[in-house]
């Protein structure tokens, strides 16, 4: 077992890892930037080392400084958390070359699943469904028509150099394909200087569903069910839950088997997540794999009764997967709300500044993972997530009601937060019924497009 671990992260996840270490009897070293002097992870770690100026490019992303900090504090392992260097294969290699255990998968596994095209190919080889589409660029409309016929309408025409919705067209038949093909090319040429487009099947009203994977270094690999992360705003998850209201036993088994097979094909070790889009008919398509612990891991922990961060540390130290984890069964319903320092009334613009009063909710079935406190100043340099509120209930409806109750108790003054917006979601009839998809947030923010829908 490790004697001392360095946490190469900040905020709530740094705190989460320190808590796991304390319970395992492992000493902790925090690293911090000049902006995080007063942060809770700095106060609660056994040692803390300043590694640079506030921008993360000058601190939390500086590999040499973090490795120096690890050497002067003489740690056995580094936990990267999520974001920053968590999915950086080079960082994992540097750790290994310095004889420091990187708590996560091997650099090879990070590389194999980190590149989107390589991961898609890996999934295809492992027999995991991928979103049908063209192999690379579609040069002519004839070729486009052929592909659309093969994969079936509706399809999406997307710019190869694309992003931000430009050069993108959803088409429903041959006529609109020909029209959309040329329009998308012209738009892509104008926006990116590259008119290349490709075609992918359009998955209508999808759910974003991901499977939690856990594998040890002795070849034992299991999945711990799914999380439904369909409540997103601009591709950023806001609410996550386990289990998914869309899921039944058969689909869970089928998707779980696929996930285990894909992870095994790259000899995956430690915690990871495989993301899918699932349509309303239960057809699922592989999107990507995240080779790290996820922000939303607590909902899985609550439902499956395990501690994923502790398990990560144990696995990295060479231990076998714990039996209670390998045989865990879902036995309740958990929802997580991400609380961000943003103003929901002003297009969710960041709202940094000093927290005046902080009072966290409590009571049965309520968990708060957060690094903030009264008079703590939220820095404008980092991500705006300041807290994760997790509520558990024996059923989905009791978990939803508990979340609405806990959000009502949560008091953060001095800055704007997304708590009022989260309360709105918990009270929304469609959410309460479990009837939603990835378009839910846009729909409740601006109900007009729904009425105009053809």
């Amino acid at each position: 077992m490790f004697n001392k671990i360095l946490i190469a992260n900040r905020g709530e996840i740094a705190l989460r890892i320190i808590r796991a270490c304390k319970e395992l009897g492992i000493a902790t070293v925090a690293v911090f930037s000049e902006a995080d002097v007063d942060s809770l992870h700095v106060q609660l770690a056994d040692e803390a080392i300043c590694i640079g100026r506030p921008p993360s490019s000058e601190s939390y992303l500086k590999i040499d400084r973090i490795i120096s900090a690890a050497e002067i504090s003489d740690v056995d392992a580094i936990h990267p958390g999520y974001g920053f260097l968590a999915e950086n294969a080079h960082f994992a290699e540097v750790c290994a070359s310095c004889r420091i255990k990187f708590i996560g998968p091997s650099p090879d596994a990070i590389r194999a699943m980190g590149d989107k095209n390589a991961a898609r190919e890996q999934a295809r080889k492992a027999g995991v469904p991928i979103c049908p589409g063209s192999d690379g660029e579609v040069a002519t409309e004839d070729e486009g028509l052929k592909i659309a016929k093969r994969i079936g309408y509706p399809v999406m025409i997307k710019a190869i150099a694309g992003g931000g919705g430009r050069g993108m067209r959803a088409v429903h038949n041959d006529g609109s394909l020909v029209q959309g093909f040329h329009a998308a090319r012209i738009e892509a040429e104008k926006a990116f200087g590259n008119g290349g487009v490709y075609i992918e099947k359009l998955i209508e009203c999808p759910h974003h569903i991901e499977f939690q994977i856990l594998g040890d270094s002795h070849g034992r690999l299991v999945h711990l069910g799914e999380r439904d992360c369909s409540i997103q705003r601009r591709n950023q998850k806001i609410v996550e839950e386990c289990p998914s209201p869309l899921m039944d036993k058969n689909l869970r088994k089928e998707m779980g088997d696929c996930s285990v097979r894909l992870a095994e094909s790259v000899e995956y070790e430690n915690a990871g997540t495989i993301e899918y889009l699932v349509d309303k008919n239960g057809h699922f398509y592989f999107m990507e794999m995240n080779t790290r612990i996820q922000v939303e891991h607590p909902v899985t922990e609550e439902v499956y009764g395990c501690d994923l961060v502790k398990e990560q540390i144990l696995i990295a130290s060479g231990a076998h997967l714990s039996d209670h984890v390998a045989n865990a069964q879902p036995r309740s319903h958990a929802i997580e709300c991400r609380i961000n320092a943003e103003d929901p009334d002003k297009d969710f613009q960041p709202s940094p500044g000093m927290i005046d009063l902080y009072y966290a909710p409590g009571g049965r079935g309520v968990r708060v993972d957060s690094h903030i406190y009264s008079k703590y100043t939220i820095s404008p340099y980092y991500d705006s997530m300041i807290s994760k509120l997790i509520c558990v209930g024996s059923t989905r409806s009791s978990a939803t009601r508990r979340m609405a109750r806990a959000l009502g108790e949560y008091l953060i003054t001095g800055i704007k937060t997304t708590i009022p917006f989260q309360r709105k979601i918990m009270r929304h009839a469609d959410f309460v019924r479990g009837d939603f998809d990835t378009g839910f947030v846009e729909k409740i923010l601006d109900p007009k497009p729904l009425e105009m829908k053809q």
Binding site: C50, S56, S68, I72, P352
Partner: protein, 152 residues
């Protein structure tokens, strides 16, 4: 891949705020010149408060104090409040701080003479003067921003 990576460019900071960094530096210089402890300015859409700290504030029990070199202070604008650690004004002394994390060695080997001694004249791009004090112990770990020398 890096979904949770902070997007710094999208956040306002003091360099891009209504008041430019060079203006703040000029105010700090004026404060020092006239030995002012507090400076406040409020106008439409902007508020600035500068406070000079006479004593460094200890941060973490197990680690030495971090200070950054130039006198900076709390700057508040409507949309941003960068948190910079309080800084001691150096009327007489200038501190040379560690630019990296690592082990501080005063000499190239245990038998050699130190690179610099107290009382020695030094000339570099950024500092000029006489070494008044060596603040870090030879062979000990230092963190980013930790004071190493005091120069007169």
């Amino acid at each position: 891949m890096f979904k949770r990576q902070p997007n710094i460019s999208s956040y306002p900071n003091k360099e891009t705020g209504p008041l430019e960094l060079k203006d703040i530096k000029a105010i700090i210089d004026l404060m020092k010149k006239n030995d002012l402890a507090v400076f406040k300015l409020e106008k439409e859409g902007m508020k600035i408060e500068l406070e000079a700290h006479r004593h460094p504030v200890p941060l973490v029990a197990t680690q030495p104090v971090v200070q950054s070199a130039p006198a900076a202070a709390q700057v508040a604008t409507p949309s941003s409040t960068p948190a910079s650690p309080p800084v001691e004004p150096k009327a007489k002394y200038k501190e040379v701080v560690s630019p990296m994390v690592g082990t501080f060695y005063r000499a190239p080997s245990p038998d050699s003479a130190p690179y610099v001694q107290v009382g020695q004249d030094i000339t570099a791009d950024t500092v000029q003067g006489v070494i008044a004090e060596v603040l870090a112990e030879n062979g000990t770990p230092v963190q980013f921003g930790q004071p190493l020398f005091r120069v007169k």
